[in-house]
Amino acid sequence: MSYCVNCGVELDRTAACCALCGTEVCNPSQPVDMTAPKPFPEEMQPPPPNNRPLIAGLLAALLSLPVLVCLVTNLVFGGGAWSVYPIGGIVLFWVLTAGPLLSRKPRPVPLIALDAFAVLVYLFVIAALGGQGLIVGLHWYLRLALPIVVVVAAATLFPVAYLRRYRADGLVTSAILFVDAGLALVGIELALSFFAGHPFQLSWSWIVLISCLAMSVALLIIDRSPHLLAELRRRLHV
């Protein structure tokens, strides 16, 4: 019989290395038995088939029906390229739902980025094909749609990425979300101010931001002081 020189436990004669520490077995008087059956079976049962790609495909098939109807109606009866809007909307819906279905592991950060990108593409198509021509379309696309989508996407991405990396409890999470929401609103008002022609004039969002900051500072203080937390639990328990 062989022992692990590192752990001092006796090993099975079929073991080539120690299961506890990985040290290789080196015993000239009793080489590893390669023919005897192992103590546990070697065969893995494969995981059950993943049917989520199937659901995504089924969804695509179902959605292709209205797409086809729109396309055919548009081609037969004319009336400009109106079918681009519903078809674009349907494709966007598919991208938003199929993303989580097709990714094997929960990967919210790239998925949110992908969703924001898809929304931007759809809005660009609307802007480019809009009635008032490309110049007007690009004007609101670049000044309004693009910044707002980017701000909202960033405001969603930041807390998701941060909270996945660093675990935080309920109070800290709420504090982060408050600051994040305040900043997002400031970003949106900034974009609006550019679009309206008087840049950097903030009228309401800074009030929201200050209240959000105050709220999150309060939450962080509560989080840091166990006495206060216990007192609040006692007074506010349900």
Binding site: C7, A19, C21, F40, P41, E42, M44
Partner: protein, 448 residues
């Protein structure tokens, strides 16, 4: 009231349906698409197992255990078990045991029977039964198999009547309705004190393996040497091993804090071990379903660095305190109470499931560092004792807890099984090398 309670029903008939017992109600609510609470008990025989004879033995034995020939159904307010016709196939054993049952697929049995070389293993969804109930099933199955295959000291043919008893049932006898009993309801004491919230417990840092992996490390330990070590310190074997487990986790936390440069002002977390207790020891019942509870053994690492000899008396006394019969009855009462509230009973099942899963996610696993379940000494009738070499007991994967420990002893050998879903082996190594350092020889087998 389930139809089982009605006296008019002949005891031989299958129950068309019956309710989940009080403890079982948790498990269907917390299972996920990937994991469910499973456990496994195996018997290692003296000779290789013949699958076709094992299949025949299972077909003979299963009708004697109608409580296990069921599948899980969803009602409007509760889950329930309905009779599943037929008999599951005996399967060749696999490297990644304790996969979740396929609830929706027919026939939908909630247990599986495996064979590998000399081993017969049964795996159960915890909602069906606890380990003590399943041990009766496994022993009865092994006896029926040996009656066909024979073995050292056993001639093939009908076994003598003397082998049968409460721990090993006669497959030809009619099932006793008491074997179906939800004994929690019978013994619950409803006027106990209210429960209180436990603080979060330490979970060691680890690298998770893909979801369908389960590493098993089996440590075989001579019981006499273990008993000697435990007696020297005036504790029982379970208490001694629980202390070894706690000591290992405390040291892992110390080392982790050093390596990860944790801010020393942050309090170390308590190490809390769940030690299941077979309630049949205290409250007699023939129930083959769930009837166990657990004692929490916890050491607060924030109090400073405990030496092993300081941990031992704490573990010893905490376990003894937890084993007070009236405290146990009151704790059962705490669990039974919600089941009696009309408002809760009228809540639709899916809401109940969400609520139970959320409570479990918050206060179930986060408040415990791990489980150590000791099935105790397994006994076989003397006629069959030589044909069985060893019994093994292992717990399936939990959700947040990475490594669980379970054990069973037979004929002087304690088989300790670590089942783990992470890459690291620090807990296994820390636990088993502590035994080696204490002069107890350990033999290790593994699927790693």
């Amino acid at each position: 009231m389930s139809p089982l309670r009605k006296k008019s029903r002949p005891a031989t008939a299958y129950a068309e349906w019956f309710k989940l017992d009080n403890a079982a109600k948790l498990y269907p609510a917390i299972h996920t698409g990937k994991r469910a609470s499973m456990f496994r008990i195996s018997a290692v025989l003296a000779e290789p197992v013949r699958p076709e004879l094992l299949q025949a033995a299972l077909e003979e034995v299963l009708p004697r255990f109608p409580a296990y020939a069921v599948r899980l159904h969803s009602g409007l307010f509760w889950h329930y078990f309905g009779h599943a016709p037929g008999c599951p196939r005996v399967l060749p054993d696999i490297k990644n045991p304790m996969l979740r049952p396929r609830f929706r697929e027919k026939p939908g049995f909630l247990f599986r029977v495996f064979h590998y070389e000399r081993r017969i293993a049964v795996e159960f969804f915890h909602a069906l039964a606890d380990a003590s109930g399943v041990l009766v099933f496994l022993k009865t199955l092994v006896a029926a198999y040996l009656a066909r295959a024979g073995g050292p000291g056993v001639a093939p043919g009908r076994l003598p009547e003397t082998v049968y008893g409460p721990g090993l049932l006669d497959p030809a006898a009619t099932p006793d309705p008491e074997e179906f009993e939800d004994a929690f309801l019978r013994y619950a004491h409803l006027h106990g004190p209210q429960g209180y919230r436990e603080p979060k417990a330490y979970h060691f840092a680890s690298t998770p393996e893909p979801i369908h992996t389960l590493h098993m490390v089996l440590g075989l330990v001579p019981v006499d040497r273990l008993l000697e070590a435990a007696r020297r310190r005036k504790v029982t074997i379970t208490e001694y091993l629980a202390a070894v487990y706690v000591d290992t986790l405390l040291e892992m936390q110390r080392r982790e804090r050093e390596v990860l440069h944790v801010d020393p002002r942050r309090r170390p977390l308590p190490v809390r071990l769940q030690v299941p207790v077979n309630l049949r020891r205290f409250f007699p019942t023939k129930s083959l379903r769930n009837f166990s509870f657990f004692v929490n053994v916890s050491i607060d690492a924030a109090n400073g660095d405990y030496a092993f000899d300081e941990i031992l008396p704490l573990v010893h006394h905490r376990m003894r305190l937890g084993l007070d019969k009236r405290t146990l009855a009151a704790s059962i009462g705490q669990n039974v109470k919600p089941e009696r509230s009309l408002a809760l009973r009228l809540t639709p099942l899916f809401l109940k499931n969400l609520a139970i899963a959320e409570i479990y996610r918050r206060v179930g696993e986060p408040t415990s560092s791990g489980a150590m379940s000791n099935l105790g000494e397994v006994e076989m009738p003397p006629e069959l004792a030589d044909a069985v070499e060893r019994f093994e007991f292992s717990l399936g994967p939990s959700f947040r807890i990475r490594t669980n420990v379970a054990m069973a002893s037979y004929k002087g050998t304690l088989a300790i099984t670590f089942s783990s879903t992470c890459k690291e082996t620090d807990l296994e190594r820390g636990f088993l090398t502590r035994l080696v350092r204490d002069g107890i020889p350990v033999k290790v087998e593994s699927n790693r």
